[in-house]
């Protein structure tokens, strides 16, 4: 029956497209993970704007704030020495 074969062909195409869509989405997710890591505010070359964008409006109650490779040490009131800022990029 030509009608049956047309329906069957449509079904096959739909299944193939769904598989392709799932693969592209999974591949895109993995690729985006890499891109997100590369353009991470703490490691990207344009990190200054990225950091300010990512952390705008965020108040941290923790003693120190870690952004990937860089660490800002919190000031220690007991020591009386100026706080040290360590930066490293990876």
């Amino acid at each position: 029956m030509p009608n049956d074969s047309r329906i069957e062909a449509g079904r096959r195409r739909a299944n193939a497209s769904k598989r392709a869509l799932a693969l592209v989405a999974a591949g895109g997710f993995v690729a985006m993970l890499g891109v997100a890591r590369h353009t991470h505010p703490g490691t990207a070359s344009s990190g200054a704007t990225g950091t300010s964008r990512a952390l705008a409006g965020v108040s941290s109650t923790q003693g120190s704030l870690s952004l990937g490779g860089g660490t800002l040490a919190s000031p220690s009131p007991s020591s009386g020495t100026p706080s040290q800022v360590q930066t490293s990029t990876s």
């Binding site: 047309r6 329906i7 062909a9 449509g10 079904r11 195409r13 739909a14 497209s17 769904k18 869509l21 799932a22 989405a25 895109g28 997710f29 993995v30 985006m32 993970l33 891109v35 997100a36 890591r37 353009t39 991470h40 505010p41 704007t49 990225g50 964008r53 990512a54 952390l55 705008a56 409006g57 965020v58 108040s59 941290s60 952004l67 990937g68």
Partner: protein
């Protein structure tokens, strides 16, 4: 290294791309475009699958944001629009988009019970989902200033705007004259 943070951003971008694909296929269906090799049921199948897959990535986006510590947002803050301390308006738009997506999914599941006309009215919420997701990505996305993501937004907005224009044009076009 915060892999939750990377996963949150990556899943957000992929979810947005999938929502765009689903909206484009929906417009193609409602405009009754009938490519010879693509029967309507096949396009509907792919359209639904793209929506479900988008829902999965939205779920990953929400969960990884809740787990992540770079931008500390709790799960309740992610579920209540405007409750987040970080860019409350733009994050809230993302919450609204996610919740509307759930509404679209539920009403599609109840399509038979609702009837076609009522389901169709509910299904128009898909445009609100896409619009809110676009604004959320541009306003709250950490990578929104990256060129590749800007290109994605331009392509998505351009293609959806073009598809809407095509769809409206098909509705407004006069029926072919009978000879």
């Amino acid at each position: 290294m915060s892999y939750d943070w990377y996963a949150a951003r990556a899943s957000g971008v992929v979810a947005y791309a999938l929502i765009t694909v689903s909206v484009l296929l929906g417009l193609l269906l409602s405009g009754r475009a009938r490519p010879k090799r693509w029967p309507a049921f096949a396009v509907t199948d792919v359209h639904r699958f793209a929506g479900i897959l988008a829902g999965v990535f939205v779920g990953v986006h929400v969960l990884t944001l809740a787990l992540d510590s770079v931008v500390p947002i709790s799960l309740p803050q992610l579920l209540v629009p405007g409750a987040s301390h970080y860019r409350p308006f733009w994050v809230g738009l993302g919450t609204v988009a996610g919740e509307l997506l759930v509404a679209v999914a539920v009403t599609t599941r109840l399509k038979k019970r609702l009837g076609f006309a009522r389901w169709k009215r509910w299904h128009y919420l898909s445009f609100a989902v896409w619009l809110a997701a676009t604004a959320h990505g541009i306003g709250a996305g950490t990578d929104a200033n990256e060129q590749w993501l800007r290109l994605l937004y331009v392509c998505a907005v351009g293609s959806v705007a073009g598809a809407i224009a095509w769809r409206v044009g098909r509705t407004a076009a006069p029926a072919p004259a009978r000879s």
